[in-house]
Amino acid sequence: MNESQNDLELIKLVQQGHKDMFNVLVEKYQYKLAHVISRYLQNEHDVAEACQEAFIKAYRGLENFRGDSAFYTWLYRIGVNVAKNFLNSKQHSQSKQEINRDILDLHDEHHQQDHHSPERVLFSEEITNVISRTLENLPNELQTAFTLREVDLLSYQEIADIMECPVGTIRSRIFRAREMIDQQLQPLLETT
């Protein structure tokens, strides 16, 4: 089982008319895509907007997606194109704004206050801190299994070989580690 196979199963469902299954892909790749787009756009609101545009473009193009390349590779290309176009249009509008700066300054201020509802922003540093703190307090076997998986990107079988225990045990250890981190992460996401 690999990443693209799981994605292909979801894509197949979307292509069969289960539109909601596309959201599972969005939930999976939103952070990675946002990370790619953030290399082009600095403002987190712009990143979110470009992300949304990229996902919608991907959904529209999914009709013709044949699975020749992995879904994320394809999404990545769409994301980069959207970010570049976004940047160009933004620069264009900025140069226009400069011409009428005196008139628009005040208007923009009002416009932003009216239309930009306060979005929930998350700082990756906070998440990293929560994960690190929880990981440090985990029992040694859970910590090792989880680190080998998430940091070293080893498969369950490889971890089982290293730790000399069955794959089922590794699966359980990784889950327990994840569950404990998740318990600490949930309040942070709720309060944001």
Binding site: L8, H18, I37
Partner: protein
């Protein structure tokens, strides 16, 4: 729809170590999956320093206005296996053509090779003197070919051949006249 997916399986699914039917996922399980992916992206440093966490919610909202894809249902796995079969077929086809061409070429080489010893001069083209018997310059010496080696055609045979050729030419001219379409009136 009831779900029988255990949380442990969901965790394995995050790592692509298990398969899960997406349709059986509950809302809570999807939320959990999303946090697992956030965890993963954060550890692998694939997350921007500042991120709006409502991206998925906003995409879902925008997606609700989109049309359902149903026109082109493509079986991706099948497509891949068909592509694989097509490639194998092409390779087999090419190999067969190549084998036939190679066989024909080999046959031509064998048939045209001068294995008829009567036609090949038996005397080597170059002859060098032995080391200890003087220094006579190297010369191109070919043995005079005997007249028997050449096929001499007699006058009778020549005449017969000419007659045969003439008969062929006559026959050709006759057939041409015979099958010539009549001019339209």
């Amino acid at each position: 729809m009831t779900s029988h997916i255990s949380d442990e399986k969901l965790s394995a699914y995050t790592d692509d170590e298990a398969t899960v039917n997406g349709l059986t996922l509950t809302k809570e399980q999807r939320q959990t999956l999303m946090r697992y992916h956030l965890m993963k992206a954060s550890i692998q440093k694939q997350i921007p320093s500042k991120i709006e966490i409502d991206i998925a919610k906003n995409v879902a909202l925008a997606l609700s206005k989109e049309q359902v894809i149903k026109s082109k249902v493509v079986d991706l796995q099948k497509n891949r296996s068909f592509a694989w079969k097509r490639n194998v077929k092409q390779v087999v086809q090419f190999s067969t053509q190549f084998a036939v061409a190679a066989s024909v070429a080999a046959l031509c080489i064998v048939n045209l090779s001068p294995d008829d010893k009567n036609l090949v001069p038996q005397v080597p083209t170059f002859q060098t003197q032995p080391i200890f018997h003087g220094t006579t310059p190297v010369s191109l010496q070919t043995a005079p070919q005997s007249e028997q080696q050449y096929q001499v055609i007699s006058k009778e045979e020549q005449k017969m051949q000419e007659e045969k050729i003439n008969r062929y030419l006559y026959d050709y001219a006759f057939r041409e006249r015979l099958y010539q379409p009549e001019p339209e009136e």
